[in-house]
Symmetry: C2
Subunit: 393 residues, 2 copies
Amino acid sequence: MTNYPHFGFDITYKSPNSRARTGVLKTPHGDIETPNFIFCGTKATVKSVLPDDLKRARTDIILANTYHLMLQPGADIIEKMGGLHKFMNWNGPMLTDSGGYQIFAMGFGSVSNEIKGSGTRYKDKSLLKITEEGAHFRAYTDGHKVFLTPEKAMKIQRQLGPDLVVQLDECTPFHASRDYTARAMMMSRRWGDRCLTEFMAHNDGKQATYGTVSGGVYEDLRKQSAEANAERDFFAVAIADCLGNSKEQMYDVVAFTMPHVHPDRPVHLLGIGGIGDILTQVRQGIDTFDCVSPTRIARHGWALKKGAPKERLNLRNAEYRENPDPIDADCECHTCENYSTAYLHHMFKAKEFVGMQLVSIHNIYTMNRLMREVREAIRTETLDQLHKEWCPE
Amino acid sequence: MTNYPHFGFDITYKSPNSRARTGVLKTPHGDIETPNFIFCGTKATVKSVLPDDLKRARTDIILANTYHLMLQPGADIIEKMGGLHKFMNWNGPMLTDSGGYQIFAMGFGSVSNEIKGSGTRYKDKSLLKITEEGAHFRAYTDGHKVFLTPEKAMKIQRQLGPDLVVQLDECTPFHASRDYTARAMMMSRRWGDRCLTEFMAHNDGKQATYGTVSGGVYEDLRKQSAEANAERDFFAVAIADCLGNSKEQMYDVVAFTMPHVHPDRPVHLLGIGGIGDILTQVRQGIDTFDCVSPTRIARHGWALKKGAPKERLNLRNAEYRENPDPIDADCECHTCENYSTAYLHHMFKAKEFVGMQLVSIHNIYTMNRLMREVREAIRTETLDQLHKEWCPE
């Protein structure tokens, strides 16, 4: 990949039984083993967890959101401060998204219900107009009008300075018609070309680009999009756009899309982070995942646990009031090694930030542990067994 | 001090020019040099800062509040969980107060305005009745009625298990008459005796008791209280009760009280933590201070800084928007070594917890740095110079 001299993706194992694989994704800020999980540092911070604690929880890679950062503090300021790595004190691999997801998701009246397919009706809250040129929307911060184009999305990500950047695309809501989704997919392809042109004009080797595969829940559109994506000189692939309104449909979309995706490029599945989902989707060849869920649920007192019903415990439950045990006796995270669930329960009852910090640290560690075990299980062909251990129901 | 075999207080230097002194306060969980600052871990956490970060910020000693903990999660639970040290993962020296301050302060309608003398009128919000036996009040958590006696205050602190405990006393509001303050002081003395009796009946050597000196702003009452305190077998002294309604009056109260305090016991000044106040009060022989201020102001974006106007910077000010410098280029805290004020400004604009964490860490480090410099300045008789460096106005 001559356009990406400082990046690489080595596939280290391919399962003969599924599309599952292990690999090493190389970036200027370090290599990560795949499959792996990318933690959301939306506004230049993984909420309530400092970078040192992320590392102690064995985090390999994080992302930040272009949409939020372009509005506050602004890409110019982050560039002046030396880029996102320095600004937020994270010196490992980092990705930013294009800003598109939030523009369209917030435009539909809530952050993700529509694109994730929960089926509420289209309510245009902040998205003003989508044209071939780009997207007009109102800023979530103060309502001022913003116009984002593919070129601007790339420029902003260049200013932010992460290792991995993503093309701008249009995210369609679940209720969108096949015709609308097809037109959006084609426009996203053209936007992808404009992004690549803009990217290559300034390519200094420090960043690599993900092209997105869209097409909603329509198999032929996904196939077209994946094939067009594979023909272009993107470094990697992000499975984007609406993935349906149920887990089953999401599994189907990924299953019928993946055979058409470039086989040698790392593949990211945007916004998916359930433990069961990850264990299912790595079989389709997904290499990286991201989701706000591990840290978001932590802030509400939910702790991820291997083998727990629905993957998690509710630490606010009265049963933890006098429980001297850690969340997970087999977990080696800072939280489980030093704190009882009684203490964590008390922190949530007392509305103390430290509760959110400690459970976030545990959930991050647990996701990283999951991914280590997933990689090992792929190599040893024991994914079925591992799936039952994490999700026994 | 035969009743306190595992505790000690060695005075290592006495200034010939003032009452200033340095010392070593010995507890079962370690020794601390004095003068020192005790950070408030009100509900079994120093708000938004984990114990590892407290240690990295060179913290020697913390406190927790009996009033809050007796109500949530309850002393029984903390005892079952192995005591406060284990519960909150702090293995250094620790103090708890008696619960009295919050009962009376909240009883007067706000946490501390009355006792600190801001002069608002007496509004009985939660304090129901004070009798010779004890204090009846309503819990801040759910309004249920609670009755706290001197014996219960000591029992609860025994269950909580810190190194240093404090007798129950009545805190009088600033508007209280001389007669009322005199009667309260005499009752607090009797409560102190009951506390000592209760303490000694269960003394296993793991804890040591502070007796309080009260008497409001009245010199003769303070003298009587200090002398009575010195005659009793307390390990240490806490200057309690109303300290007036201005800094000048607080300075006066401490100045006319200290000559009557037991000269060989460590002296704690309750609830005072301004940088200028500390630099002034160590000259009166105060050995330890506590205040919620360093971490409370941090959560609102105020960073302590040596030599800054009013001792601090407001990181929410627009002037920090593009400022690549740390809070204090001479500060070696984790925050100053890794983050710009532009980042901290952004964290507060974006309402991110990490901003509170990072500024709390800086403020804690700064208070610990202040206390190290104070001890050195006492030993080298350069307190005046140090005072000017920290508070140049």
